[in-house]
């Protein structure tokens, strides 16, 4: 018989946990859910837009009755659990229903706090927590005029905005002298207050409510100083309290919330708890993102994949008021040990502050332009050392280059028709509709449904902002904790560490040892694992061509019509008449449609059919030309200028330097593509300062530059150091490439990698640690001994033939009406 799981609370955390459980172990339990509210599960966050008239209740239902039926879940709507009998393992509901459990999940959420003043139970006094409250407010707005909102926090302001939209006159009463004091510092709070006043909301600051006055229905609110204001509706939005009554009565250990451990279990190990009702490592939470993280861990534990642990969350806040962009996260006030970095442009309505300690971001507040909120938030959660970007960090990630969105970064103010994703033609309206209609909570969800930011990714910041604006944030975990893919809960770093520690040298071994959920993996993890294994065990690992993207499998780039391109290596951009003739001959012989001088100082032949490739390569090989790896997550090009040999300004032989670098590094597989350049003087004609590794020759030697990118988002390199000799350049380059190979995540180019780990880390390993650098360079050279064979030659000689030939040709003599003729 299946085990029985009972869930108390049909809200966001409880049902998210059930969804996660169904994903990993659909048949593990007979599931019964009790919910006090008479509704199916809905998106509580969206009550604000419902109140503002931007959405309807139907729009915000997450799981309708049919979903419960489809998944064989018994749902008791409008039925409150009144007691838990832990000895007999059963729960008892209001209407007398009893249900026994093997495991119990308490997800009772929280209750709005009602301030203890006379009159707080009069008709017309409501909280802002559920559909019932919203109905009461909407009803009041039809009949009445004056609304008073007590509480100038997130909920209070969203309520006030909604009621203004419903045509009421609204006064927000706040005990403190600034709004949202738990999320905003003073300058941001003042800007916010001004914007809300412009929308017609009145504020009474530092006002302490003494009584709510009225006969049957509320009529006035009176304050400590004796003043009174008219009120037909009073909304209490002063805070929430974890709903722990039921658990407490059942003898489960509670403090402020129900105390849970890292596997989301309470002190009774059969009883789990997630959501706003819990307390974990001393913290309680009032936002959805942490609840989703807990839900995932809880589901994995219920499914007996006991590897995930919940280790607490760092949260960020967003106000969902149309037209207002605001972001806050972490400790944004600071203390005597922290520094403040502040950018303020009052007339443009822009303010940003970062609180920094030991070169790590501790908190952030932003007002006006919040496009970089998610970037700061990621840096903060990853505890990235920002010492090398401190002087520009306030200008945001986009200071590194404007990736096509011009000045316009304020998503809240954009019209729905604005194109956000240029690659796929997706507008703001498309994205916002998808988020609300398809119930999306993370960037990955939005990508899957709309394709926005799924191609080149340059609009990621805008999409994240839209998501934040619509549902209050990207509800996914910190970047360094993100699982490698859906097949595992381990992060990239964890997988690589385990691979080395447990000496896992093949993919099946790795997947079984690390409890992969799909024995077959998926396109995401298989390609990453293939690379990680190859990097860790260059002498032992046998490359799996089926775990490589087609370009790397076919050693040519697939084109939009299914044909391929061929780009031979042109060492350091230097070529010879003989090579050019060979390329020309091939182009004529195979009737190549396009011969193109590429952006990488080489020549590309386009439009070749797959079965023609070995022939083309054979001819090129004959002239000494080899694969340029223009298709690989590998060393691509080394661009050079003519340097000292010809140029009147050249200081060193940059062409020779580039050729040596290319000879050193060609054939090497890297997490993402890797490009280099060597320029003969600081005029930098080879554009070395936007390359993954760039050399700028100077009179005294060679300047080394790292982490540049000329693509989607231009990033100028960071200066690493200056060295004196060519030999040193080669050693530093080998060491740096190996560090990148061993440390970066698959598909992370050096630019984002360095922004994640910090330049200081790279300097420590490459510049300051001579011994370490030599070791890294040695490992690189060792791995090169296994990777420097021309893959084209191998295939010309017959390797992987199945890749290039059809299995069969079937020709049908259709006119004669006879059988198929098999060629």
């Amino acid at each position: 018989m299946k085990e029985r799981l009972v869930v108390i609370g049909n809200g966001m955390a409880g049902i998210r946990t059930v969804e996660e459980l169904l994903k990993v172990a659909p048949d593990a339990y007979d599931i019964t859910v009790f919910g006090a509210e008479p509704h199916a599960n809905y998106n509580r966050i969206m009550l604000s837009p419902v109140l503002a008239g931007e959405k309807t209740i139907e729009d915000i239902i997450l799981n309708d009755d049919q979903w419960y039926a489809d998944n064989n879940i018994t749902l008791h709507k409008g039925n409150t659990i009144t007691s838990i009998d832990r000895v007999n393992r059963k729960v008892c509901a209001e209407d007398g229903t009893e249900e026994s459990y093997d495991r119990l999940l308490i997800a009772t959420g929280s209750e709005p706090f009602i301030i203890p003043v006379p009159g707080n139970d009069l008709e017309g006094v409501v909280s802002f927590r559920d559909i019932h409250d919203v109905d009461l407010m909407l009803e009041a707005a039809m009949k009445h005029k004056h609304a008073v909102v007590i509480g100038g926090g997130l909920l209070g302001l969203e309520a006030a905005n909604g009621l203004i939209q419903q045509g009421m006159s609204v006064t927000v009463v706040h005990l403190m002298d600034t709004l949202m004091e738990r999320q905003l510092d003073q300058p941001a709070a003042i800007m916010l207050k001004e914007s809300l006043e412009e929308r017609g909301i009145n504020f009474l600051m530092q006002a302490q409510t003494e009584a709510i006055v009225g006969k049957d229905r509320v009529e006035k609110v009176r304050f400590k100083d004796g003043t009174e204001i008219y009120a037909d509706l009073v909304v209490m939005a002063v805070g929430i309290r974890p709903n722990i009554k039921l658990a407490k009565e059942a003898g489960i250990h509670c403090e402020r919330g129900i105390v849970i451990n890292d596997t989301t279990q309470t002190y009774d190990p059969r009883i789990y708890s997630v959501g706003e009702c819990i307390q974990h490592r001393g913290m309680t939470y009032g936002l959805v993102a942490p609840l989703f993280e807990m839900g995932k861990v809880c589901a994995n534990h219920l499914a007996k994949y006991g590897i995930g642990r919940y280790e607490g969350s760092v949260t960020s806040t967003k106000l969902k008021v149309t037209g207002i962009d605001l972001f806050s996260a972490g400790d944004f006030i600071g203390n005597e040990n922290t520094d403040e970095l502040v950018f303020q442009d009052a007339s443009r309505g822009i303010y940003r502050k970062l609180v920094v300690q030991d070169n790590r971001i501790k908190g952030a507040v932003m007002y006006g332009d919040t496009i970089d909120g998610t970037w700061y938030f990621d840096l903060m959660r990853d505890e990235t050392d920002i010492s090398d970007m401190r002087n520009t960090i306030l200008f945001g990630q986009a200071h590194l280059g404007d990736s096509g969105h011009g000045e316009e970064q304020r998503v809240a103010a954009m019209p729905d028709s604005t194109e956000i994703c240029g690659c796929n033609g997706v507008t703001k309206g498309d994205i916002v509709n998808a988020i609300t209609e398809k119930k999306l909570f993370t960037l990955d969800d939005v990508r899957a449904h709309t394709k926005a930011s799924g191609s080149c990714g340059s609009c990621t910041g805008l999409v994240e902002s839209l998501l934040a604006h619509t549902v209050g944030g990207d509800h996914s975990v910190a970047p360094h904790l993100k699982p490698i893919c859906g097949c595992s809960d381990m992060s990239h770093d964890d997988v690589r560490a385990a691979m080395i520690q447990k000496e896992l040298t093949s993919m099946p071994e790795l997947m079984s040892s690390l409890n992969w959920k799909n024995s077959d993996g998926c396109p995401k993890c298989r390609m990453a694992l293939n690379y990680y294994l190859l990097c860790a065990w260059p002498d032992k690992y046998e490359d799996q061509s089926q775990s490589r993207f087609i370009n790397e499998r076919a050693h040519a780039n697939i084109q939009n019509d299914g044909t391929y391109s061929v780009i031979p290596r042109i060492w350091g951009g230097d070529t010879t008449p003989a090579e050019l003739k060979a390329i020309a001959n091939v182009a004529e012989k195979y009737n190549v449609k396009t011969v193109h001088v590429t952006g990488g100082q080489r020549i590309g032949l386009y439009g070749l059919k797959k079965d023609e490739l070995p022939g083309v390569w054979s001819d090129l090989n004959a002239a000494g030309l080899v694969s340029g790896h223009a298709y690989g997550k590998a060393l691509r090009t080394v661009k050079t200028c003519v340097g000292k040999e010809w140029c009147r300004f050249g200081t060193q032989d940059s062409t020779h330097m580039g050729i040596e670098l290319e000879k050193l590094s060609w054939g090497s597989w890297t997490p993402h593509k890797f490009k280099m350049a060597a320029s003969g003087c600081p005029r930098n004609c080879a554009e070395a300062t936007i390359k993954d590794f760039g050399v700028v020759c100077v009179d005294s030697g060679y300047e080394l530059h790292v982490g540049g990118n000329g693509g989607i988002k231009v990033r100028v390199t960071d200066f690493l150091c200056t060295v004196k000799t060519e030999e040193e350049v080669l050693e530093y380059c080998a060491a740096y490439m190996q560090l990148y190979r061993e440390d970066a995540h698959y598909l992370e180019r050096t630019a984002p990698w360095i922004e994640r780990v910090g330049l200081t880390f790279v300097k420590e390993k490459i510049v300051e640690d001579d011994e370490g650098r030599k070791k890294l360079a040695e490992r690189f050279l060792f791995s090169q001994t296994f990777s420097q064979d021309d893959p084209w030659q191998g295939r010309v000689e017959g390797a992987e033939q199945h890749e290039f030939n059809a299995l069969k040709q079937i020709r049908v003599k259709s006119t004669q009406g006879s059988d198929a003729e098999l060629a």
Partner: protein, 110 residues
């Protein structure tokens, strides 16, 4: 043509001609057909044309009973030819018969 081919099984090769978690192509007058082999040695045949923008599915990544298209990464179910949600579309399926490791294909798409 379908009248001619009705019920005809055409031998196209043996299972080991196709790499595990891979695919091969059969050229026909009416376009290419991709023959896939999963990790469990199941064989499927689909029109080698992605319902999105016609990408050659045979060049994709086979995982589980799905293939990820090489051009824009849509996932297509090998047993039905239907794109995995949220994407929408369908590639034609062709019947396959295996007898003692030999693969037979029928050109009557389903």
């Amino acid at each position: 043509m379908s009248a001619v081919m009705n019920g005809n099984w055409i031998e196209v090769g043996v299972i080991n001609d196709i790499p595990v978690q891979g695919a091969r192509v059969v050229n026909t007058d009416e376009g290419d057909i991709a023959i896939f082999r999963t990790v469990d040695d199941e064989i499927f045949a689909l029109r080698d044309k992605c319902p999105h923008k016609g990408g050659p599915l045979s060049q994709g990544i086979v995982h589980g009973k799905k293939v990820a298209c090489p051009l824009h990464n849509w996932n297509i179910s090998l047993d039905t030819g239907i794109a995995v949600a949220p994407d929408e579309g369908c590639a034609a399926r062709y019947p396959i018969k295996i007898e003692e490791n030999t693969i037979y294909l029928s050109l009557n798409s389903e």
